[in-house]
């Protein structure tokens, strides 16, 4: 229980630090733009809401980082990062696949990309779920069919220029 608490507190502390870093980056971007920062008469200007939000978010994230770090230090136990990293391998691969899809679709065509993407991921998930050869083959076929169906509906029936 304490180990879970420590891992969770550590995650929240890291989140807080990352948000603070993001806020600092955006703050720098904002204040370095003279057009955004100029006076706009009675209008508080385009910088107003971002400055308010960056300030509130930055302070809140700092509070989150500090309190969570203290909680993490108080709780005992070992944080197993290895298991966490292994569990996100497939999601990370999916994110990479989505970005590759975006890069390739305009070049080789949406349908080809969709067929490879859906059939490939269906096979991979079926294999990971422990399906046999037949199950994997069915998943590939089903994935390809779904991809073709979605393409047909959106491209032909709705007129989306895929």
């Amino acid at each position: 229980m304490k180990e879970t608490l420590r891992s969770h507190s550590l995650s929240l502390a890291i989140t807080g630090v990352m948000i603070v870093a993001g806020v600092m980056l955006l703050w720098r971007n904002l204040v370095s733009d003279p057009i955004v920062m100029q006076q706009w008469g009675r209008d508080p200007g385009p910088a107003f809401q971002p400055i308010v939000m960056l300030t509130l978010l930055g302070l809140s994230a700092l509070g989150l980082a500090v309190t969570s770090a203290i909680n993490a230090l108080r709780a005992r136990g070992v944080v197993d990062l290895g298991n966490g990293i292994a569990s996100v391998a497939m999601p990370a691969a999916m994110v990479a696949a989505l970005l590759i899809f975006v890069a390739l679709a305009p070049r080789i065509g949406f349908l080809a990309c969709a067929l490879v993407f859906t059939a490939g991921w269906s096979a991979l998930i079926a294999w990971r779920d422990g399906e046999g050869r037949r199950g994997i083959a069915l998943a590939v076929g089903g994935g390809a069919l779904v991809a073709y169906g979605i393409f047909t509906v959106f491209s032909t029936m709705i007129g989306v220029p895929l």
Binding site: R42, L57, L64
Partner: protein, 494 residues
């Protein structure tokens, strides 16, 4: 108003395409809602692009059908495989699944369907009665009141979100900050674009919603191995005995009233409504020990509350432009794409559209009842759809759905980014809906605060106007109360 509603009724009832869209929306909405891991919001987000080529009226008929049906569909997987298809069905599984294990799955599905219909109709009545009144009152609002109402919406969201209020607040602020990306509408000055053309127009609500509700769920599904399910294989008879069902009407009515009123509170969400309805019935019951063991009362109470929330959630959306829940946030995105911004002027300038909403929702509720009665056995099979094809197919739908908004692959990148953000937020227990609420409400808040300043040139204007002050006080209390409670709970005991 009656004229507009009658005209809308004639328009939809005599349009076979509209009726067909309603039925298709109900079938797809129920099927998607029944699939474990696909929430109502996700269903609505991925099906939204189908409405792009439609007229506004047809789009509303279709989307409201999907909305209503997917809320009911969530109970199918809750009853059959003990996994709620939607967050609102989270309580239904407590008695629905045990009923299914006792061989009464068919009866549980019918109880859920009838309770959903009752709740839906009561929520609809609330919408028809109260929306014009709220809109009439809101006509007196000016920029300071709008700004205060927006803050109130965000405060209620933080208050009502599951888990930590503090984390929900941070999520809401992230959404408000992300809403400032792109060209400022007042001065046409670019903010946070980092020289990227794609960011000039800002972050689209639809790609963001598809990413944070759709892709994030897909990534979560990939992370875990296939959960070993124990599906109910025997559906049994569908119609429950009259003697058992008849006494449950008052219970369904109570659940509906709770659901409709909780649903009308901006951002309160169905999870709260169903929990309150279930807890109340358990307290009122002469045999509370039966709850959780498979009693029909435990299905009827939450399901009536769940669906009553649909009509309730539409009230703040239509009258104030504030989303009642995450699904109405997506609906606002759809309306913006069709060139319509909801708000109090809807009743003055677009009364025909309001009539369409009333009639489309009523049709959707009735169609859900008919389709559910005829197709419950079929929907029961959907929960066993192959996970591999489901996850990859949903991902492709998300890609197409994001792309179709502006025919831009940049939006697919935005969707992916929000997917990663939603996934990481889910991992640390931070609610994701506030981000989308922030995106929706951010421009409204900014516009009204700045307009107030330009007109009144005085910061105290928000505190000197009675409505604005009252709303802000309620918002502060709603925010401070759970934060103080959180802090008290965290204090180490001596």
């Amino acid at each position: 108003m009656l004229d507009a509603a009658f005209a809308a009724f004639l328009q939809i009832a005599t349009d076979p395409f509209a009726i067909g869209l309603c039925l298709i929306g109900v079938v797809i909405g129920t099927a998607l809602g029944a699939l474990p891991g696909i929430s109502s919001t996700m269903s609505l987000a991925v099906l939204l692009p189908f409405s792009f080529g439609m007229s506004l009226e047809h789009a509303m008929v279709f989307l409201l059908a999907v909305f209503t049906a997917s809320v009911y569909g969530g109970s199918v997987s809750a009853i059959l495989i003990n996994i709620p298809g939607t967050p609102g069905a989270i309580v239904t599984q407590m008695d629905g699944y045990p009923m299914g294990r006792k061989g009464r799955a068919g009866e549980a599905l019918t109880y859920a369907l009838l309770a959903s219909t009752l709740g839906g109709l009561l929520g609809w009545c609330l919408l028809v009665i109260f929306a014009p009144l709220v809109a009439q009152a809101a006509l007196a609002f000016q920029s300071p009141e709008y700004a205060a109402i927006t803050v109130f919406g965000l405060a209620m969201l933080a208050y009502a979100s599951p888990g930590s209020t503090f984390l929900a607040l941070i999520a809401g602020m992230i959404g408000l900050l992300l809403a400032t990306i792109g060209l400022d509408t007042t001065t046409d000055v670019a903010r946070f674009t980092f020289g990227t053309d794609g960011l000039q127009a800002g972050l689209g609500i639809i790609p963001a919603a598809v990413g944070i509700f759709g892709i994030a769920e897909v990534l979560k599904g990939l992370e875990r191995g296939a959960k070993k399910l124990q599906p109910v294989t025997r559906i049994g008879r569908l119609l429950p005995p009259w003697r058992e069902a008849a006494p449950l009407w008052p219970l369904g009515l109570r659940g509906s009233v709770i659901g409709a009123f909780v649903g009308a509170i901006p951002a309160a969400g169905s999870a709260i409504a169903v929990t309150v309805a279930y807890a109340l019935e358990k307290r009122l019951s002469k045999t509370p020990e039966k709850f959780g063991t498979g009693c029909p009362e435990g299905v009827v109470a939450p399901e009536s509350a769940n669906n009553a929330g649909v009509g309730g959630a539409l009230i703040p959306m239509i009258t104030l432009g504030i989303p009642g829940d995450s699904m109405t946030a997506v609906l606002i995105g759809a309306l913006l794409i069709h060139g319509l911004r909801p708000g109090p002027t809807m009743f003055a300038q677009h009364i025909d559209f309001v009539g369409i909403v009333y009639v489309a929702l009523a049709f959707a509720i009735v169609a859900t009842l008919v389709v559910g009665m005829l197709g419950n056995r079929l929907f029961a099979r959907i929960v066993n759809a192959p996970r591999a094809v489901l996850l990859s197919g949903v991902t492709l739908l998300c890609i197409v759905g994001s792309f179709a908004v502006r025919n831009s692959f940049f939006d697919v990148i935005v969707m992916t980014g929000f997917g990663v953000l939603g996934y990481l937020m889910n991992r640390i227990g931070m609610p994701t809906a506030p981000v989308i609420f922030g995106l929706v409400l951010g421009p409204i808040l900014e516009e009204n605060v700045r307009r107030s300043m330009i007109i009144y040139n005085d910061w105290t204007v928000f505190l000197t106007r009675p409505i604005s002050l009252t709303v802000l006080i309620i918002a502060i209390v709603a925010l401070a109360y759970p934060l103080i409670q959180d802090a008290m709970r965290r204090r180490p005991s001596p």
